[in-house]
């Protein structure tokens, strides 16, 4: 079966159906794609990583935080290792920044020492307790009233969106079909065995279903009569700063954690920005991604405790992500209600880090419930490299333009992104279908002008490459059309394709 | 019977933006205060009796490097006919090449107002 990506017709059947195209679903799909199996991923949005996977801290945690013996602990450490091995080959930007858990007083120093011991139990290498002087030497802009910190050299940062795309593209190259704009409406169970998935686009027969539906994984479970867990969305707000202040911080800075969350961080991003956040607020609506005045004020206050000289004037955007919280640990394992249904649910922090490890474990779990695995001879574990124009030296840039003139047209001037890269982002196996999809793949529109200059141009390129009218181009979600024509407005129509 | 109406008028003739009053008695302007130049006086008098505005908008272009041609009224349009003019212009399409200054609509709606091209648009081979 050839791999594919898009709002395509649903096949009649598949060996395995993965519900959810976030980082977990795509990592699972990739893990399955090394076997002779027909694998279909169902994603309700027009793109992968539109839920929690695109709005998180982008941190590959070292693994000291999770309680020993839990899925979180085991999969965090294994996942961090896998990213170190796989990132380059899959085109996932990753930086080994290390991380610091900052202590402000003696009590916090004790907590931090406990974290170190927990980390050792979890198998995390290289953990050290640093003195105030050591911390200040490494992070000159940190608050001078720091007492010390836990240094975790294996902590790293990654682009969570490109991680998802990296897994997804590799899965597609190895035959997985990712069907977008496809909403799961039912699970057919006969004699306590999964037999099919019902969707907005029809019915697909299958005996193995992976529930990786993130914020909606509780609802998916209930479609099979499984109410063994509930997802409580927990919102975290972020502020992202301009790349020009990238020198402010060198490593991921955590405050000493409390019982609820890891706390409000100050961290670099893999693209050279700095962010602060997230806070943690329980909400009811799994689609409510509004930032709030109180939330933003709170994360500014929290971040200032670590970094008092935060340059608020260089903020470029604010956003909120929702954690799919199920309880103390991940919900990973077969459903008690239906054979063949296996959950990868409640994947909050360290979910991004754990994703490739969840993929490995899911293969075993599916095998345990009867999936036959025959390794695929044609499996290719890596993606072809994509040139990033702005990272290259002048000679290489000149050669790229000579080979493809569209490298000579700069569309996003804030980040120096060329038309050739945007076209490649649209035409690649897991290609962009929306303006934000282009932004998340190649950074056009992610800079300080936030698409003010390049937005109309990216919209025109999408329309051209996808063969659709400008009025059909969407920003991000299924119904997020950007423009209407004069004729539509006169006819009393709203903004819709 | 004498009918006396006092209109407060903000002049838009230049960036200073003088404000003044125009007093209309029995349908004609009898007095004006507060305006400090002839352009302002002329604008204020007309604004009360028969307000007019310069109108700028776009019309469609075929065969050109751009989809739209900006056009401007050569003389002001009566304020209450602006939307009628815009409706007329919405149905106008010109063929490239077009030269700046070309009259694309003459005597729009019989008002004696022409609309001209505000720029060149070259044709696309």
């Amino acid at each position: 079966m050839a791999g594919s990506f898009g709002a395509a017709p649903l096949p009649d059947s598949a060996d395995v159906v993965v519900i959810g195209g976030g980082v977990v679903g795509c990592a699972i799909a990739r893990a399955l794609s090394r076997y002779e199996l027909s694998v279909v991923v169902l994603e309700r949005s027009p793109d992968v990583a539109t839920g929690t996977s695109k709005a998180n801290s982008g941190i590959l945690h070292a693994g000291f935080d999770a309680e020993p013996g839990t899925w979180k602990a085991r999969l965090n450490v294994r996942g961090a290792q896998l990213y170190a091995e796989l990132s380059e080959g899959l085109g996932i930007p990753r930086k080994a920044t290390g991380s610091l858990v900052v202590a402000k007083d003696a009590a916090q120093m004790e907590t931090v020492a406990d974290l170190r011991h927990r980390g050792i139990d979890n198998g995390v290498p290289g953990l050290e307790i640093w003195s105030r002087e050591q911390v200040l030497a490494h992070e000159p802009n940190i608050s001078p009233d720091v007492a010390g910190a836990l240094w975790a050299p294996t902590g790293a940062i990654v682009c969570p969106f490109l991680a998802t795309v990296g897994f997804a593209e590799n899965a597609i190259r190895n035959g997985v079909r990712i069907i977008t704009e496809c909403d799961v409406t039912g699970l057919d169970v006969e004699d306590r065995q999964i037999v099919a998935v019902r969707t907005s686009g029809g019915r697909i027969a299958t005996r193995f279903v992976v529930n990786a539906a993130g914020l909606h994984s509780g609802e998916i479970a209930r479609l099979a009569g499984d109410d063994s867990f509930t997802i409580k969305p927990r919102r975290g707000e972020y502020i992202l700063f301009d790349r020009s202040v990238g020198q402010l911080v060198n490593t991921v800075l955590f405050p000493t954690p409390d019982k609820v969350s890891k706390g409000i961080l100050v961290s670099p991003t893999v693209h050279g920005n700095v962010f602060i956040g997230p806070d943690a607020t329980e909400i009811d609506d799994p689609e409510d991604k509004e930032t709030t005045a109180g939330g933003l004020a709170g994360i500014i206050a929290g971040a200032r405790r670590i970094m008092p000289t935060l340059p608020l004037g260089t903020a470029i955007t604010e956003f909120a992500g929702l954690r799919a919280a199920a309880g103390k640990d991940f919900v990973i394992g077969p459903s008690p209600a239906a054979r063949g249904l296996v959950h990868a649910a409640g994947i909050q922090s360290p979910g991004l880090t754990s994703a490739p490890a969840i993929g490995e474990v899911m293969v075993e779990l599916l095998q345990d419930v009867g999936l036959r695995l025959r390794p695929k001879a044609s499996y290719v574990p890596v993606n072809p490299a994509k040139p990033r124009f702005h990272e290259l030296d002048r000679q290489s840039q000149a050669e790229l333009i000579a080979a493809d003139p569209l490298f000579g047209r700069v569309i996003c001037r804030c980040e120096t992104i060329t038309e050739a890269e945007i076209v490649a982002a649209i035409l690649s196996p897991c290609g962009a279908r929306t303006v934000d999809g282009v932004k998340r793949r190649v950074r056009a529109g992610a800079g300080r002008c936030q698409g003010g200059f390049c937005g109309p141009r990216v919209t025109a390129i999408l329309a051209r490459e996808l063969g659709i009218p400008i009025t059909a181009v969407r920003k991000d979600t299924m119904k997020s059309w950007l423009f209407l024509s004069r004729a539509d407005l006169e006819a009393g129509e709203g903004v819709h394709a | 019977m004498m009918e006396r109406v006092v209109h407060a008028i903000q002049c838009i003739g230049c960036p200073i933006g003088c404000g003044g009053e125009v007093i209309v008695e029995n349908g004609t302007v009898s007095e004006m205060t507060g305006f400090t130049c002839n352009k302002g006086l002329a604008y204020a008098a007309e604004e009360v009796v028969a307000p007019k505005r310069m109108v700028t908008t776009t019309v469609r272009v075929s065969g050109g490097g751009l989809a739209l041609l900006p056009v401007v009224s050569v003389t002001p349009v009566p304020k209450d006919r602006i939307f009628d003019c815009l409706r007329l212009l919405r149905d106008v399409s010109v063929a490239a090449p077009i030269a700046e200054g070309t009259i694309v609509v003459s005597d729009a709606l019989g008002l004696g107002v022409d609309f001209r091209a505000a720029r060149d648009i070259a044709s696309v081979q």
Binding site: I239, L240, K289, E290, T291, T292, L296, G313, A315, I316, E318, F319, R394, Q395, Q397, A398, I401, A402, L406, F407, G408, R409, V410, T416, R448, G451, G452, G455, P456, T477, K479, S480, F483, L484, S485, R486, L489, G494, V495 | Q10, I12, P15, G17, T36, R53, M54, T56, T57, T58, R60, G65, L66, L68, P70, V72, L86, E100, A118, R119, D120
Partner: protein, 434 residues
């Protein structure tokens, strides 16, 4: 990779770049080049289809494209080289410019003088940190203006405008003309930043309400915008509890400020004025990098394109003189300060005057609206020159010529705007720079 040499290169082919190139050529620079990233010259003027341009420069009221057309014709009549669809990646001290285009590939240009004329960008929703969701339908007013006026697509049909600067007011009228319903304009300050004529002909003419002292506190909508929440603010711009109300709309246009686009300069180590966000320049418009000049919106945000053309001509002439080695080297310059009542002054430094120079022109922005005022020049703490101003608005640039003899050898140069003791009937005329 091509390599080429020019005497003067302008980065940007909008009104500033064109005027600078023309002035450089006229002042005797032999090889002059304009590098423009768009497919045509004219810059931002091409999307400003409204009129009000050129009253000073051409003594006619022109549209933006009409003003651009005049300059494009002038450039065409010369042998100035124009590169379109070409982006400058870097412009390094010493005048080494690296540019790329699809048709010519990568070119390294060696220029004796460079004029920054890149204009500015719009302040974003993210920079003002408006909470809420991030649905489709939130645009900066200028980006929407381009789509409406040049591509022919509308950003929405029920519009709310944030910010009462001229771009927002112009778009209120434009969207109304295109058949949309503009529900309101919200301005956080207690006064509008736009020209009074625009309040009349863009808002009052169409019954569009202007809410002063109001801030948009949230944007709502999951796919498209569905509405906003607004609150009144106090004189410290803080939200007044209990005044919030919602307005339904499907489009939010932001007109909340312009920022000079100095990324190329920053990369080259340019000294910037933190208030204008543009380069610190002397009266020749030379920046802290020898041979690099700046003019137009990239130097400080202008309100009238006529001043842009004039300022760019200064920069172009200076660039030509520098290319011939005739401009005094950067050395002991005196600083110029924007004092009481003023926010910014350009130029921020004075280099040695040429012999015979009679006066020099300064451009100012006031800090707050005032009535009848006096623009004062203080040289070493002594009032040396005064000019009457009928009315002062932050949105309108103040331009004044100061006689060189009044500046003399003073080291501490400061400008102030103070309330006038009595009403002023007529302003002093602006003298031509001698």
């Amino acid at each position: 990779m091509r390599e080429m040499s020019y005497d003067v290169v302008t980065i940007g082919g909008g009104p500033a770049g064109m005027a600078a190139a023309l002035a450089a050529r006229e002042a005797g620079a032999e090889r002059v080049l304009i590098i423009e990233r768009d497919r045509e010259l004219g810059g931002i003027l091409q999307q400003c289809i409204h009129n009000g341009f050129g009253l000073r420069r051409f003594e006619e009221e022109l549209t933006g494209p009409g003003y651009a057309h005049r300059y494009i014709e002038m450039v065409r009549a010369t042998d100035i080289d124009v590169w379109l669809d070409t982006t400058v990646l870097a412009a390094e001290p010493g005048g080494v410019i690296t540019s790329v285009s699809p048709h010519a590939g990568m070119t390294v240009v060696r220029a004796k003088s460079v004029v920054y004329a890149m204009g500015c960008r719009e302040r974003t929703r993210g920079a003002i940190r408006t909470p809420g969701s991030r649905p489709a339908g939130v645009f900066t007013a200028g980006a929407a203006q381009r789509m409406v006026n040049m591509e022919g697509y509308l950003p929405g049909k029920e519009v709310v405008i944030v910010g009462s600067g001229d771009i927002g007011l112009i778009m209120a009228r434009r969207m109304t003309f295109e058949g949309a319903k503009v529900k309101a304009v919200f301005e956080i300050m207690p006064y509008s930043n736009g020209l009074t004529r625009n309040i009349v002909q863009c808002l009052e003419d169409f019954g569009i309400p202007l809410y002063l002292g109001h801030s948009v506190t949230a944007i709502h909508g999951k796919d498209r915008v569905t509405g906003i929440t607004v609150s009144q603010v106090n004189d410290r711009l803080e939200v007044i509890e209990g005044t919030a109300f919602d307005v339904s709309c499907d489009c939010v246009l932001l007109s909340v400020g312009l920022i000079p686009e100095n990324e190329l300069g920053r990369a080259a180590g340019l000294a910037l004025d933190p208030i204008t966000s543009g380069a610190r320049v002397d009266q020749f418009r030379q920046t802290s990098i020898p041979g690099f000049f700046a003019a137009g919106n990239v130097l400080h945000v202008h309100d009238l394109v006529d001043w842009v053309s004039e300022e760019a001509a200064i920069a172009g002439r200076s660039a030509a003189r520098h290319a011939r080695g005739e401009l005094p080297a950067l050395g002991s310059e005196r600083s110029v300060t924007a004092g009481e009542g003023l926010r910014t002054v350009v130029p921020q430094r004075l280099s040695a005057f040429e012999p015979g120079k009679m006066s020099t022109r300064f451009y100012f922005r006031a800090a707050k609206p005032m009535g009848a005022s006096l623009l004062q020049f203080w040289a070493d703490g002594v009032l040396a020159f005064e000019r009457k101003l009928r009315v002062v608005k932050p949105s309108e640039m103040i331009v004044a010529d100061i006689p060189v003899r009044k500046i003399g050898d003073a080291q501490k140069l400061e400008f102030r705007v103070v309330p006038a003791p009595e009403k002023i009937e007529a302003e002093d005329e602006i003298e031509e720079e001698a």
